[in-house]
């Protein structure tokens, strides 16, 4: 499976995905990674795409705002509509909401501080069937407060689009939301970093695997049954 990883200027989590995906999931999912530089004219054909965390364009205007308006993102939207799995983590999630590929917005944390620590996440049972009740996964963000209006929230709930909730809300997110999917279910965005909790020796938790394995399985399904 080929996974394309986007690189905007200051997408500083880019290397993490290039290192982590093959290291932690290479064998099980025969993953190869491909770098997608933001100025490329065409979107390389991949089985799934990752929008990594970071500070694309230095968070100029708003986090993710400039990246979401790059020409390549329009092409990514077409791919999303065609059902290609797309995962945005942290700044990647911000890019997805800014580009309206996911509903809602990400605002500065309630207390205004950057926050980096392990959080306990409650995964959506209907989606993550095998996962334990809570997952220990770190966050690292200054603008991670998920916000949406009541109508959007109702839709998210009714369509089971809420992927992950915080057990203890760290940033003031609406309904403790840590991650969501689009209505189709193929575009995922989340503030916690599952890629940082994929090998137990690093930081003591590999709970991020439950999230990433599910995402990669979705991509694999599509490869088998296009």
């Amino acid at each position: 499976m080929r996974i394309g990883v986007f690189q905007f200027p200051a997408s500083n989590n880019f290397d993490d995905w290039m290192l982590g995906l093959p290291r932690d999931y290479g064998q099980q999912f025969s993953v190869t990674v491909q770098k997608i530089w933001h100025q490329e004219a065409e979107l390389p054909l991949c089985d799934a795409y990752i929008l990594p965390g970071g500070f694309s364009y230095g968070d100029y205007l708003r986090a993710g705002a400039i990246a979401s308006r790059s020409p390549l993102l329009l092409k990514l939207k077409v791919a999303a509509d065609a059902g290609v799995p797309i995962l945005g983590v942290c700044n990647g999630f911000q890019v997805l909401t800014e580009s309206k590929m996911l509903p809602g917005a990400l605002l500065p944390n309630a207390d205004g501080e950057f926050l980096c620590f392990y959080t306990e996440l409650i995964p959506d049972k209907s989606r993550f069937l095998l996962a334990p009740k809570t997952l220990s996964v770190p966050i690292a963000h200054g603008m991670g407060r998920y916000f949406c209006d009541q109508a959007v929230l109702e839709n998210l709930k009714n369509n089971q689009q809420i992927l992950l909730r915080y057990k203890q809300n760290p940033n003031g997110s609406t309904e403790d939301i840590a991650g969501i999917a689009n209505k189709q279910g193929n575009v995922w965005g989340m503030m916690p970093h599952p890629e940082r909790a994929s090998a137990r020796s690093i930081g003591g938790s590999s709970d991020g695997q439950w999230v990433l394995k599910e995402f990669l399985s979705m991509a694999k399904q599509r490869v088998i049954n296009p």
């Binding site: 200027p9 500083n12 970071g54 230095g58 620590f117 392990y118 938790s205």
Partner: protein, 760 residues
């Protein structure tokens, strides 16, 4: 994109020299440039004439304490710098030490004290930016940041704001560049009321055959400016960092005068410059490359030309600027605008280099060429602004053997203190409050980016970073990083206190399962013109020399920050030690605290041991409890290096046989608070402890001692001679929260809260 840049060739005939300074105005000009009268005499000899104002600026920067180390150089030569593992020693942008296979790390710690006191947010941020550039301009990718902070008393009106802004500055910068902050230390002491310390350290990964040094060689080669455009920020930063602050009474006026000497950072630009620089070095596109750090364009040009024995011809009309009103040559020379690099490349490589710079959308221009004149020549606005011989500029830099007070004789005296009946609950809460949990600080730093952080700051001990590089032979090898300085000890005795600082850093490395390789030192002291301070400095160098030799961990780079003085109050001597060590298998690294998410796998109860020298020893100097109680003693213990290295080895062999759940040196908190910190992340823990027989319980639990606390399922069968282990009790994760000491129950929740809330 196509090129619009043209080469800068030195003309046959140079333009006329700019106006020379009016030497009748020296009385105002020299103090403004912090050049002493006799130093001006040397300048006159080097130049053979009066300087232009720009030249005076160049001398002022290059001969400042900050750039020339004029007070400290005579002492620094005594430090040990050689060992088998040392690849690059002091004198370069950063030192390099060998880890495994072709994999090395470059590292250095640097101070940004003066700017951080005046403008804490930008001062701290640009301190982090500067040290990262020192590391990556050698071709090393930064993999870990560390920071060591000292502030005045928590009750001092300035402390809260300084702490908040400094931490924000460090966090915002490091987080955006994308380098994890994996540890550091922080303490409060009244000697820092008028001068905070911000010492930042960066560790970068580098291939042993690709270590880059900045040379301006090859006559006719291009000199390229890359990065942010130049503004007026940071002018005279280097000279400002080389003087004391006036009394706090006129703090405000000092502040407004000094504001323009503070640099403003842009971490987004730093990230791009980092990626661009590493790509440039990787593709071998340049001959020379140097960060424009302290003294900006001046020092980077002089250093690169000096190393190659060449001259530089620079046309300053080419320098990209960001100000509305044009800068003068003087300002361009001395601006310390951030995120800028000076590069030298051959005309053949230039097209490829230019394409790469354009790809990263960085500002750039060809600003000069390498010459065979051995002079630094700067033209601007049709005048020759600078024409200085490069060699003499650096070689003739003043070097002082400043007078020193007599070395104090220190006779340690055993102190037996009796406390009668202690209220353990109250005393422990005070100790935990005085040395509080730093979670509120480090959660503002991204600790995990890079996927290499085995142990970060929340583990409370040495950081452990996993390279996962193709360059290592051993795929499990790890880099261990620690930093330490206990200012209570160095104030008591600068020499012995510095030995303890190196040791404390080493013990943290040992406790994590690693062994020390080398150190970087950041020497923070008061006014060197005071003979007492100069004595402290010299003694501290001697103490460091002993410890580094004994531990075979030489000094491979560092920085000296003097004039940390306000009014007539100097800081405590603070020789901050940053240590890099190595661990053979990161998967067997030992944390200094047992975090909640690890405990899922350790449901059984765990035994608590004290591991230390056969002859139980302690001191009250440096113990937090003594500080809180205002107890003064002079019982700082001499160091037994034989014990220290044996204890390090004993921890390793113990961990080989029965993996340790956690291990930590006792240090200033005392044994009991140390154990509490090792479990206090969880309130759901039961701790049952008993004082070892024949040892006074107050002394054992509260004094500073040379031992370690280890959590293990069982004791290793045989310990080497000279080391013993005492069983202290058990911790268990049964869901109830309690602490029992010799049968007496204490309130664990209140202790936990005292520790967690102590920073607020």
């Amino acid at each position: 994109m196509t090129s619009t840049k043209t080469p800068v060739n030195m003309p046959q005939k140079l333009p006329a020299l700019a106006c020379l300074i009016d030497e009748s105005a020296l009385d105002t000009l020299l103090p403004k440039h912090k050049i002493a009268k006799d130093e001006y005499g040397i300048l006159r000899e080097v130049m053979g004439r009066a300087p232009t104002i720009s030249e005076l600026g160049v001398f002022s920067a290059m001969w400042s304490e900050h750039c020339s180390y004029k007070s400290s150089r005579v002492h620094l030569g005594r430090l040990p710098t050689q060992a088998q593992q040392v690849v690059v020693g002091p004198g370069e942008n950063a030192g390099v030490v060998h880890i495994d296979g072709d994999y090395c790390v470059a590292f250095k710690m640097e101070s940004h004290n003066h700017p951080s006191y005046l403008e804490p947010y930008h001062g701290a941020a640009t301190g982090v930016g500067g040290i990262m550039r020192d590391v990556f301009c050698m071709g090393a990718r930064p993999i870990a940041n560390f920071n060591c902070l000292r502030f005045g008393e928590k009750t001092h009106p300035k402390t809260k704001n300084l702490l908040e802004k400094v931490v924000d500055g460090i966090g915002d910068y490091g987080n955006c560049v994308g380098v994890p902050t994996v540890g550091g230390n922080l303490s409060f002491h009244k000697s820092y009321n008028g001068n905070c310390l911000v010492n930042a350290m960066t560790v970068g990964a580098i291939h042993k055959d690709r270590i880059f040094k900045g040379f301006a060689s090859g006559v006719g080669n291009y000199v390229i400016y890359v990065g942010s455009a130049t503004g007026r920020d940071g002018i005279h930063g280097a000279t400002m960092a080389s003087e004391s602050f006036a009394d706090s009474a006129d703090d405000k006026t000092k502040k407004s005068e000094n504001k323009t000497t503070i640099q403003v950072g842009d971490p987004f630009m730093e990230n791009i410059l980092l990626e661009a620089t590493l790509e440039i070095l990787d593709r071998n596109l340049v001959i020379g490359l140097q960060d424009m750090g302290a003294a900006g364009l001046t020092s980077s040009a002089v250093e690169m030309a000096g190393r190659a024995g060449n001259g530089l011809y620079l046309d300053f009309t080419r320098v990209p600027i960001r100000t509305k009103t044009p800068l003068t040559a003087y300002e361009l020379l001395l601006s310390e605008s951030q995120e800028r690099m000076l590069m030298v490349c051959t005309p053949e490589k230039w097209p490829e280099l230019e394409k790469l710079i354009q790809k990263w959308e960085l500002a750039y221009d060809i600003i000069g060429s390498v010459t065979d004149t051995a002079r630094m020549q700067v033209v601007f606005d049709g005048a020759l602004e600078v024409d200085i011989p490069v060699g003499p500029l650096t070689d003739a830099a003043p070097k002082y053997e400043r007078p020193m007070a007599a070395s104090p004789t220190y006779v340690a005296q055993n102190a037996q203190i009796s406390f009668g009946k202690l209220n353990w609950q109250k005393e422990l809460e005070e100790v935990l409050k005085a040395k509080p949990c730093h979670a509120d600080v480090y959660h503002r730093y991204d600790q995990h980016i890079g996927l290499r952080t085995i142990f970060g700051p929340e583990h409370q001990g040495a950081a452990v970073v996993w390279p996962q590089s193709d360059w290592t032979k051993n795929k499990d090898v790890g880099v261990v990083i620690s930093a330490a300085c206990e200012e209570d000890l160095t104030a008591e005795n600068a020499s012995l206190g510095t030995e303890h600082a190196v040791l404390k850093a080493a013990r943290m490395v040992y406790a994590a399962g690693g062994r020390p390789l080398a150190i970087t030192d950041c020497m923070n002291f008061g006014n060197p013109e005071d003979p007492q301070i100069m004595r402290q400095f010299s003694d501290s160098v001697d103490g460091m020399t002993i410890a580094c030799k004994e531990l075979d961990a030489p000094v491979i780079g560092g920085n000296v920050s003097l004039y940390n003085e306000t009014g007539s109050t100097s800081i405590h001597p603070t020789p901050m030690i940053g240590m890099v060590g190595k661990i053979e298998d990161v998967h067997r690294a030992i944390p200094a605290a047992l975090l909640g998410r690890y405990k899922k796998n350790t449901e059984k109860s765990i035994s608590v041991y004290w591991l230390g020298p056969d002859e139980w020893d302690h001191s009250w100097v440096g113990s937090i409890f003594a500080r809180v109680k205002g107890i003064k003693t002079n019982d700082l213990a001499a160091v037994d290096y034989g014990y220290e290295t044996t204890a390090g080895a004993a921890i390793h062999s113990w961990n080989e046989k029965t993996p340790l759940f956690a291990c930590r040196d006792v240090a200033s908190s005392g044994a009991l608070a140390t154990i509490l910190k090792m479990v206090a992340c969880s309130q759901k823990v039961a701790v049952h402890l008993n004082t070892p027989k024949e040892i006074d319980s107050h002394t054992f639990w509260l004094a500073r001692n040379q031992g370690y606390i280890a959590f293990a399922s069982e004791l290793a069968e045989a310990l080497p001679p000279g080391i013993k282990a005492l069983s202290l009790g058990e911790v268990s994760f049964t869901g109830t929260s309690e602490l029992r000491l010799d049968g007496q129950a204490l309130n664990m929740l209140n202790l936990h809260n005292a520790w967690k809330g102590g920073l607020r």
